[in-house]
Subunit: 698 residues, 2 copies
């Protein structure tokens, strides 16, 4: 006789859709009561759409957290409620509040959320909810915050056909074939999530852009998306195809100095603003990886960017021009190429142009030195571009919390205006006193129910938004905050999970690319290890171009005896990385070709240290599994099993990386695997054939 339990699958399990806006009932009755005493009503003065969003979110959040509906009411003569108020000319006695800043204060026994704009109040509403979600007291609450960076953007690499370049969470959330008649309710939840972390702009399409979006047909669709974003303080931007005037405009050229081309872009831009009055602007990938651009006509990036800035005219929009450019050159150093093309253009860009620079000089590797353009273009506002989607960080099966990676770049000192000229301060405009500033994250969002594939990937979206708002927040604080909001408020589990998260990126680096190795992943699909890759579509798409392993040693000499890329940095930075004896080991092979038997500061030789990191990094995944196992009692079962399964996969892949790399480098180092580690139980040929499976027909 069978005794089966009914699997009440759909009603109980947490499928991750709600992200960090879960608003589950607070179990502690005393705490709930205390909160209820401070949330007897919600009063809103004004009826703008963004303010309505703030009120609606507060209602939804409080109802969930407190278990009862909080009524909308007039504040007249009442106390114990929440008042939302836009006060454009408020006397900033408590410090300057920017146009998107918020203040939460206690006023006559009410909690007052104020901002100079509706958006400010919306951010304040989310901040207040966050206090409840993380179980902070509301008594005498006094918070004020203004974003340090103006344009806080998600970049979607989403294609019109619904695929997502480097996406690992299903297909695009944008349903272009359905729009504009059918507007997926999911767009609103996407907007809510972004607004809750302060993101105020989204580039809806891939930088390898289709001209479709510039047609009247697609503008209607984009406008329908913009209509959903607008009440959440989010503006829509577009990646544009440089060749569009030819592709869809019927012109014979896309030369930015051609009057017909200029007129075409001006006309299209006016069309866009007719459909989307608060359109944000353009993102451009030009003359990069085969994309067309102004150089096709002998013009430079500034010519191109300025032409688009002119097309924007008096509209309130910007141009973000990407600096991710490099030419195929087997004897060159890709590290230097963006710098060499862009540095000379500093001061030549129109005021509406920002140059968008990746965090590092190569391409979103698990660890890169900061991009040498930061600090090198004082006359140009630079957008920092980071990648949230885990193209080089284990797709959706590796738990890699990225805040430490983002922070590492943001906190790097460029020394451009002396000590303290961090990338963060270059980007937020304080180093060079820029009027505008921006930061962009390449989204990890897809149509998967839980948005990000790996449930813990949600933390990366969250952390990006929080750091875009305030780059001084710590990785640890963000991890704890997110965990409380998303997974559990049980203190020990919060600590365990946050600790796991904060250490995860370093662990990933150790078992994939320790000591400054980079770009040794599988060809094209970028999955798994392929350090032996010597032939590819371009020399700078191989692995050997980057690691330069030979019988003597390992690493790319970027000092004066090599490519001299190091010279692109300020002298203080050169000093920090220039000497292989003192260079931090995390960056060693980025700048130096080091002998296999060279002793390092750890006391081990390069070879032994390499093996040590691959082996201990892999072992650390076992540690991650054990940590995760500990939190089981306090985590939703479906979520627990989901992460547990992915950690198993992560361990298997860590072993794969370790085996592939030590076996391959061993053929050159000719050294044994040091004790106490055991040599891989499979052959180099076996691991070689493994990565090739993932390069078969897609």
């Amino acid at each position: 006789m069978l005794l089966l339990l009914v699997a009440a699958h759909h009603s109980m399990a947490d499928d991750g859709y709600r992200l960090w806006l879960k608003y589950d009932l607070i179990q502690d009755a005393a705490q709930r009561k205390a909160y209820l005493n401070a949330a007897k009503f919600i009063a809103v003065s004004g009826n703008g759409p963004v303010l309505q969003s703030a009120a609606r979110e507060l209602q939804q959040g409080l109802k969930g957290l407190l278990g009862q509906a909080v009524p909308m009411a007039s504040a007249q003569g009442k106390s114990g409620g929440i008042i939302l108020s836009v006060e454009p000319t408020a006397n900033d006695s408590g410090g300057a509040l920017g146009k998107e800043g918020y203040r939460i204060s206690t006023d006559k026994n009410n909690i007052k959320i104020t901002g100079k704009t509706e958006a400010g109040v919306l951010y304040g509403a989310f901040a207040l909810l966050r206090q409840l979600q993380t179980r902070q007291p509301l008594e005498k609450i006094a918070l004020a915050s203004t974003p340090k960076i103006e344009y806080r953007m998600l970049n979607h690499w989403d294609n019109p056909d619904g695929t997502v370049e480097r996406g690992y969470a299903g297909s695009s959330i944008w349903k272009w074939y359905e729009l504009p008649e059918r507007v997926d309710p999911r767009y609103r939840d996407y907007a809510r999530a972004n607004a809750s972390i302060g993101i105020n702009g989204v580039v809806i399409n891939n930088v390898n852009a289709s001209a479709r979006y510039l047609t009247a047909e697609y503008l209607q669709k984009v406008a329908a998306v913009a209509n959903v974003m607008r009440p959440y303080g989010i503006r829509v931007y577009m990646s544009v195809l440089w060749a569009a005037p030819k592709t869809i405009g019927g012109l014979t050229t896309s030369d930015p100095l051609d009057p017909k081309v200029r007129q075409w872009w001006t006309d299209r831009t006016n069309d866009i603003y007719k459909a989307i009055p608060d359109f944000g602007g353009f993102l451009v990938k030009a003359n990069s990886e085969g994309e067309p651009g102004p150089q096709d006509y002998g013009r430079n990036h500034a010519d191109g960017a300025n032409m688009l800035a002119e097309a924007l005219g008096s509209h309130d929009g910007i141009v973000m021009w990407r600096a991710f450019v490099y030419k195929a050159n087997s004897n060159g150093d890709r590290f230097k190429e963006a710098y060499e093309e862009f540095k000379p253009l500093d001061g030549k860009f129109a005021p509406k142009v920002l140059v968008q620079v990746k965090n590092g000089p190569i391409d979103f590797q698990s660890r890169e030195p900061f991009h040498p353009l930061f600090g090198a273009m004082p006359k140009t506002p630079l957008v920092l571009e980071v990648q949230i989607t885990q193209e080089y960080l284990g797709f959706a099966t590796h738990l890699v919390y990225e805040a430490p990676l983002f922070k590492e770049c943001l906190d790097s000192d460029t020394y451009s205006k002396g000590k303290g000229s961090t990338v963060a301060k270059v980007v937020d405009g304080t180093v060079d006193q820029h009027r505008i500033s921006g930061i962009a994250g390449v989204a990890n969002i897809g149509s998967d129910r839980n948005w990000t594939g790996h449930p813990m990937g949600q933390a990366n979206w969250y952390a990006f938004g929080r750091l875009a708002w305030d780059h001084e927040l710590s990785s640890q604080a963000i991890a704890e905050e997110w965990t409380r909001m998303t997974i559990t408020t049980e203190p020990k589990s919060v600590r365990t999970i946050a600790d796991l998260m904060v250490k995860s990126r370093d662990i990933y680096v150790r078992y994939t690319t320790p000591l400054g190795l980079h770009h040794i992943m599988g060809e094209s699909v970028h999955y798994g290890p392929q350090p032996w890759l010597a032939k590819a579509g371009r020399p700078d798409w191989t692995a050997v171009y980057y690691h330069k392993a030979d019988a003597q040693g390992l690493g790319f000499d970027r000092t004066a005896t090599g490519s001299n890329a190091l010279s692109l940095y300020a002298p203080e930075v050169q000093k920090q990385w220039g000497n292989p004896q003192t260079c931090a080991l995390d960056y060693l092979l980025w700048f130096h070709h080091v002998g296999w038997k060279q002793p390092l500061s750890t006391g081990r030789t390069l070879w032994d240290e390499l093996c040590y990191r691959y082996y201990t990094g892999t072992d650390s995944v076992t540690w991650m599994q054990k940590q995760w196992a500990q939190v089981k009692p306090n985590v939703d079962p479906e979520l627990f099993a989901n992460v547990e399964g992915r950690l198993q996969k992560q361990y298997k892949e860590a072993v794969w990386w370790r085996d592939a790399c030590v076996l391959y480098f061993q053929t050159l180092a000719q050294q044994p695997i040091p004790k106490p580690f055991s040599p891989p139980t499979r052959s180099l040929d076996e691991v070689k054939s493994l990565v090739e499976i993932y390069q078969l027909r897609k």
Copy 2:
């Protein structure tokens, strides 16, 4: 002052995930009580995994429908319960029960569900639940049913990278990068849905196959999927790349007569059965649209198929060899090519081989005459392949219920063994007494929360399964059943929705390809109308190849004065379609080139009839919108809005099709748009540029 309602979005709205297995509480208390009286317990004799699935599903379903848990118990001395029992040797007094058949009977005041196999009982459990879901009485219940076709298959055109060829519902549900460590709980819900409609096999990958699945690495992944399918009576099959022995086997040839190649396939097949003991077999697209195949080595399809059959050896597996082949030939007729290649091979295929034939001779057009191979290969079991995904039926924005299309083919009389030799009876094996039989539907399933993009697309998955089980069911009955289970049980709404569904396919045909027009859709992406398409990658990928419009008239002459494709059919069929005066208008332009001014049986000239159908077909979408509006009070609001939005899009696209086709054909017919219809308000150039937008970079 704002007064906002809390949007209790997540808990109340129906997101479609549960498909037709919703099990919502029956609101009528009297009916619930009556059902409860007949479901006081569930007793299961046996503990096989499929039987467990049956019991679990009953528990889950009854708990939802009746609002209380039904206990598992022993039936000993009890009455008023449900007994599940496998009775392999039961005396079939009530008629022969096949190995997957079920019987639901009343036995000593208990409801007894019996089958010769566990699968039979599982199907019976779903049948019983269906009775409750559609509010049928349980008193003296006596049902018995056995599937008419043995292999009831879904074919997934899912690629390893997660894209789905011709998929319009997000990405693939299969998460290959996560498998086998992480097994998405969704796989189980997919299996439940399939089992509930009798589907017992799934081909997990695209016929344009990657060799990946044959590697040990991927076999583990496929095995993990098979482990989830098995308890639901579902076997896993694989599409294979013909060139695999070269691609991954290290051989220099894929010649099916080469002993090394034969050995390689035998070895791989043995590997597969080691990992998946109940593996179902292979699906092959060979020498078709650029895919490799045995003809590359001067062998024929039978050589290839028989080699795979030999590799299957004593394993219980089959080979499904697709007949979808055609050579690029601008003067030929694609209609005839599969016939010409396969008909001569009848009798040459090994016993484990089935030839898989699309419903019509071209490619899943909105209406096709049945494929001339049906009835023409009496010595070979033929699998009927239909397309559930709406490649040519409006993607996920057109409401097209496909049961009438499937039925039209199934009910077509081939006359191969005299009158009554329908396609259905050829396929189920009764016409030619085949031991095995199969039917395959190309899935419309993706990772979208509601599985099929268009919520009404779920009905097509459902209808395919129900017809695969019993091709004698009517389209109307299936539509009503599905509607009751999925949308509403309110009788008037059920009638309205079912009526809308049943008429929808004919409406679609009218506004896209009336009178037997075919293959005039947009190039490559197959979106929108492009009847003027005259140049493409191949001549038989254009539109003009098929409609042959000229100054005189319209249509493809396939009689003896033309390609003579009609001669491939039995004389009775030739007679039915051979005379343009008597040929059903729905098939007219499939077989005849008809003068523009030729009067038809409707009293209108061809040109006027063409316009009449385009215009009235388009107007019918307005009717569909009105019908849908009527059911609003009885339909979940989110679902209602979803379908409403898509119907708006459908109307816009119907107008697009109408305008494009009448404007283009008018350039040749040189006739005015007949009264009372108004000529399109846009130019031919405008509609031409519209379709091109959707062919820009994807």
